[in-house]
């Protein structure tokens, strides 16, 4: 599903953000990416998502080489990937409902379907009573859950979650993890970047550890 071959990413400073990354994630896998702050976790996810282009190396996602993908196909591919951004990236001028509905609008879902799916997802994340709020009116944890809702609402092929529980309390963290597992069981390939010991504790999932841009 996701393959990285000798990927390097250098932002122009002496220390590259990613060094010689080779990684294969199979369809339906659940992978944790961990490592200290500044290790390159976010950069790795960004490259898979084509928000950044690698300095060298090749990335194949869902059978497509991202170095050679066309603008239009990239949009189509991104629709099949759900992303929880570390800084949420919610639209400040749309309310919670509209932010989540966006992911379905883009695909061209009919409105009644959109309503049903959005309500359902917001219920999962205990956000039902925040539907009409705008992101600046939400607490940190609520914003994070809206970001998760937007990422999962359209049942993506791949889910990339960057520190999805950094602003959540332990109870909610467990709920979110349960949710991710459920999504995974339904067939989605899941990559979660985190440095939370709690998330990793006792898991039997594959863990990829980054340090200073290298897989260790």
């Amino acid at each position: 599903m996701i393959q990285l071959f000798q990927v390097y990413k250098n932002f122009g400073s002496k220390n590259p953000a990613l060094l010689d990354i080779n990684l294969t994630v199979k369809k339906g896998e659940f992978v944790f990416i961990t490592g200290p702050s500044g290790a390159g976790k976010t950069t790795l996810l960004k490259i898979i998502f084509c928000a950044e282009r690698p300095t060298s190396g090749n990335v194949l996602v869902h059978g497509r080489n991202l170095n050679r993908i066309k603008e239009r196909d990239l949009s189509l591919l991104r629709r099949r990937i759900g992303v929880v951004f570390q800084d949420f990236k919610l639209l400040p001028r749309r309310n919670v409902f509209e932010n989540v509905a966006l992911a379905l609008e883009i695909i061209g879902f009919p409105l009644p379907m959109i309503r049903k799916k959005v309500h359902q997802t917001l219920r999962y994340l205990s956000l039902t009573n925040k539907e009409g709020y705008y992101p600046p009116q939400l607490s940190g944890g609520e914003q994070q859950r809206v970001a998760i809702a937007r990422a999962i609402v359209n049942n993506p092929l791949i889910l990339l979650a960057d520190e999805p529980t950094g602003n959540l309390d332990p109870d909610l963290t467990m709920e979110i993890m349960a949710l991710l597992k459920e999504i995974h069981i339904r067939g989605t390939t899941v990559l979660v970047a985190t440095h939370s010991k709690e998330l990793l504790k006792g898991t039997t999932r594959r863990i990829v550890t980054l340090n200073k841009g290298r897989i260790v």
Binding site: F49, R72, F85, R93, I106, Y134, P136
Partner: protein, 282 residues
């Protein structure tokens, strides 16, 4: 919520700037159209006053008219009797008309007002006509203003050329200001555009709302400008009665066709402005 209100404010600022830019351009067009209209009218027709020695009877007038109709392009506007002339003078004097009460006799001459059309009569006609009419025993004097008009038209030609150049530059200026304003409003939503693209929106999905918005902004800006111009026009025609010695200005507003054209243009400018401004992001 604060964000929404702000966004609306940014739009209002944008529309405001646009209307002012349009207004400058439209006001210029209005002035230009009027100058054009006026010179055209003045240049093509020439008014001539035939003053009679005595109050003529209708047979005399008919005779003169017959004589006039031999020439092409002559239109008889009206006969002004000595009484008519006095009345119109009284009207012009308004409150001071009392000054005329002391007169024992009406000193004003009767006259026949005619116009000549340059198209049909040719440049020599007025002179010929004047010479011929002044030979008549009933006619005292013939006045016309062509000499002046010729010089005036030379200036108007220059004004026209300068006008077209200036108007063109003004149009470019309006376009520039409007595009920049749209650019700044779009910049304030740069992040939103980026997020939309990251979530998988196609370029069209992102661009079209901005283009529609730009077009609507353009339309509103243009409409506000036209409305302001119309108000100014109404005030101008009711307050100001510009008369420059020889002829009084008759200010016309833009014709419906021009208005329609300008509105269409403002939509197009809004559309093009947003399209250009979006260019940076794609």
């Amino acid at each position: 919520m604060g964000n929404i209100r702000e966004n609306r404010l940014v739009h209002l600022i944008g529309i405001g700037t646009m209307s002012i830019a349009f207004l400058i351009f439209y006001a210029f067009i209005l002035v230009f159209v009027n100058i054009n209209y006026w010179t055209e009218k003045q240049g093509k027709t020439l008014s001539m006053s035939i003053y009679f020695k005595e109050e003529p009877d209708s047979a005399v007038i008919e005779n003169i008219k017959k004589e006039l109709f031999v020439f092409p392009g002559v239109t008889v506007k009206q006969f002004v009797s000595k009484d008519d002339a006095m009345k119109s003078l009284r009207r012009k004097l308004g409150e001071k008309a009392g000054l005329l009460d002391g007169l024992k006799q009406n000193p004003l001459p009767a006259s026949l007002e005619i116009t000549l059309s340059r198209d049909k009569g040719g440049d020599n006609l007025p002179y010929q006509l004047k010479k011929r009419l002044e030979k008549s025993s009933v006619v005292d004097e013939v006045h016309y203003t062509q000499e002046w008009i010729k010089k005036f038209q030379a200036i108007m030609e220059v004004i026209k050329i300068v006008g077209v150049i200036f108007g063109g530059l003004l149009f470019l200026a309006a376009l520039f200001i409007i595009t920049n304003t749209i650019k700044l409003t779009i910049y304030s939503r740069k992040e939103e555009i980026e997020i939309l693209k990251l979530v998988g929106a196609t370029n069209c999905f992102v661009k079209i709302p901005f283009m529609i918005e730009g077009s609507i902004q353009g339309l509103l800006g243009g409409a506000v400008a036209l409305f302001a111009l119309f108000l100014a026009y109404i005030i101008a025609i009711t307050r100001i009665d510009i008369s420059i010695g020889f002829a009084s200005f008759n200010i016309v507003f833009l014709s419906p066709y021009i208005i329609l054209f300008l509105l269409l243009m403002s939509v197009i400018i809004g559309f093009i402005g947003s399209t250009i401004s979006l260019g940076r992001f794609f």
